[in-house]
Amino acid sequence: MTSQYIALPKGVSEETFDAAIHDFRKVLGDASVLTSAEQLAPYIKTMMPVSDAEHTPSAALLATTVEQIQKIVAICNQYKVPIWMISTGKNLGYGSAAPAERGQVVLDLKRMNRILEVDKDLAFALVEPGVTYQQLYDHIKEHKLGLWLSMPAPSAIAGPVGNTLDRGVGYTPYGEQFLFACGMEVVLANGEVLRTGMGSMPNSNTWQVFKWGYGPYLDGIFTQSNYGIVTKFGFWLMPEPPAFKPFVIQYQHEEDIVEIVETIRPLRISGVIPNAVVIAHALYEAPVKAKRSDYVSGPGSIPDEAVYRIMKDHKLGIWNVYAALYGTQEQIDVNWSIVTQAFSQSGKAKILTEQEAADDPAFVYRAKLMRGDMTLTEFSLYNWRGGGGSMWFAPVSQARGSETLKQMALTKQILAKHGLDYSGEFIVGMRDMHHIVDVLYDKTDPEQTKAAYQCFDELLTEFSARGYGTYRVNTAFMDKVAETYGPVQRNVHKTLKKALDPNGILAPGKSGIR
């Protein structure tokens, strides 16, 4: 018999699901419970090398209030129906808006999009999960608040709640998003509403200014997890600096990554360079300016010779270091002198400022991100090969040149074995490097799709064998990554899950937690 639903939750009969949908409709109204194929199709598309059928939702719920969410979790508990929560759903390359497992009901919080407070003096914001960076950006401009956001590449269309909860980054000095989070409201699986930190105290006005509260700090367990549904989120904003100086430093040889990192680390730790520096490989920047098919055709990874031609044709370094200085002009002048002196020592660096690089589209979009402006230019990566396949491989390394060289060489070798290109960059954190590689492949080509899956699997295996952990991953590989962190951590995660969500209704499978 053919089902009236395009998928059903695992272990839930159609009759039971019917009853749950009926109850969801009583809470939300018919128009906010989506079950037709046409309505659900936009939730299904992923860029992973697995069948979209494995991540097809059974329904989507469009909630607007905390009270509705409390009623939804009650229904889910009653019928044992799992939900997959998204805020704006822009986790592109990590699974997008699709659930981790077939049949999960998407709880889409995009309509919860109120900006509850932006405090100019204390420089913080309190928002609902559906608020986008564009909304907040417009609000700040409209009210002339003189504050900056720190956005990831999907900028305008993404939002601070989702990006922070998945521990994403931005590119201003406030780029390590979770470091600047301050206070959450969370609907728990039993329907209770928890406010973390100072938010639990009646009449407190310090919820968004003091992170720690009293007792164990809980905010962390609601990131990259499935222990609750975050319905309000506080975070700190950067005051607009009086002056800003973006720059790019180009190097010509891959092994120069050692010198780059050794030069940056002390500048970064001491705060001379305050933002998350990006060290982008030529192939990460090339799609902004060139097409792969102009340089190479046929199977296999792009040869080094073609990469050097791209560099020459489009004035790219093999490594392109993007950073910025912030503060008063006097501060910037002093720090610029320190930066140029440090990078000039070996004679390998080519230092370009806005004066020299203003017409370079790669520099323009990087400069925008470093000053908290919106641009979606980085999406050009998806045109490099075409075919719609993309997975972010995101291992962490120490901020040491020798480590980054090892990671780059290993990544490149594994990608080449599977016929794929190295489109990578390092984002320099406080003492770590996020090594971000876009594994791009053509999803219309079954051979390449299979190769991409095997390649990603091998990357995770080989990196974890060397002690390099992945900090974030797409939904197809969450279990595998969870496994690499060992049985004790996995068991603690499971114990917390059992305690907070005994029926397992909240996003089973997220970060490998069930």
Partner: protein
């Protein structure tokens, strides 16, 4: 919405950014009088500023001309994007939401498509079909011309029509379609075969159909990445022939007069014709594929090698 943005959108809608490939800048949207959902829709085309826009629009025009010949409707309204999706995506979201009761066909590159997909979901539109279209280099191990669709139901399927057009032009191609909701197939829809193709069914659930030309089912499975199965049943040697019919909605003679300069024009024709309700060879199943290997290299493969784009059909 502020007045500046409202004016911008008004400008777009009245022709400010309209680009016509032989189409007047202000044209009446084609009315779909008999839609699959029973309502009345108008159809518009959104071109995403890719190198294949012109070819696609030419195929779209041909489909409209065929449609207009019996409906007496006008040409297709065509909107041309510059770089709005990367620079001001909300402007495009506004364009969609301010055109109610409209069926949009949009084509664009993969970067723009990633953003457009998000806009479609955000603005709660109905996505009828999402296609990925690729012409790869000649030395790829897969077939050089590949189409993959995720389609809400078989009633919105353009794959059969496209297969018949590409086959008569001797292209080597694969078309894979996944239907999210088999249950909502048109009740009159029947399993059909396609001239020149051998048809097979997978004798298990979910219902899967395979149409091969110049290639065995085993090889076809390999070429499209489906798991090999022993359970394919030839329609001519064991299928329920009483339920099979040669599709009469588009007799060969109707399509035979159509000649396209390249595969992109043919794709434009198939997508627009289907969006207008002239789809053919639609079958009630969950997945199906067409695999065609002519043994000849069509000259067009070389000329348009490396081109790729994404297509959307959405109801607003």
């Amino acid at each position: 919405m502020d007045e500046t943005r409202r004016s911008l959108i008004k400008g777009m809608l009245t022709g400010g950014t309209l680009l016509a490939f032989g189409i007047p800048t202000v044209t009446q949207a084609v009315s779909i009088s008999q839609t699959l959902s029973g309502g009345t829709h108008n159809c518009r085309l959104l071109l995403g500023n890719t190198p294949i826009d012109e070819a696609f629009a030419k195929g779209a025009e041909a489909a409209c001309a065929g449609y207009s010949s019996f409906s007496q409707e006008g040409a297709l309204s065509t909107f041309q994007l510059a770089d709005e999706l990367l620079t001001d995506p909300l402007r495009i979201a506004d364009l969609l939401t301010q055109s109610p009761n409209m069926r949009w066909v949009a084509i664009m590159d993969y970067a723009n498509a990633a953003i457009f997909t998000e806009l479609v979901r955000n603005s709660e539109q109905r996505l009828l079909a999402l296609g990925s279209h690729m012409s790869a280099s000649s030395d790829s191990t897969s077939l050089p011309l590949r189409h993959m669709w995720t389609t809400a139901s078989p009633a919105y399927s353009a794959g059969g029509l496209l297969a018949s057009l590409l086959a008569q032009n001797r292209h080597d191609f694969s078309i894979v379609e996944n239907f999210l909701d088999q249950a909502r197939a048109d009740s009159a829809m029947k399993d059909s075969s396609l001239a020149g193709f051998s048809s097979y069914w997978l004798a298990e659930q979910p219902a899967t159909h395979l149409h091969c030309a110049g290639v065995s089912p085993l090889k076809a499975n390999q070429l499209i990445g489906w798991k090999a199965s022993e359970n394919w049943r030839s329609v001519s040697s064991g299928g329920d022939e009483s339920s099979i019919n040669q599709d009469q909605t588009a007799p060969g003679a109707t399509l035979e007069h159509l000649r396209f300069d390249n595969w992109i024009e043919a794709t434009g024709y198939a997508i627009i014709a289907t969006a207008l309700g002239m789809g053919t060879h639609q079958e009630p199943c969950s997945s199906r594929a067409f695999v065609h290997q002519s043994g000849q290299r069509h000259p067009d493969h070389q000329g348009l090698s490396g081109n790729h784009f994404v297509s959307f059909v959405i109801d607003v």
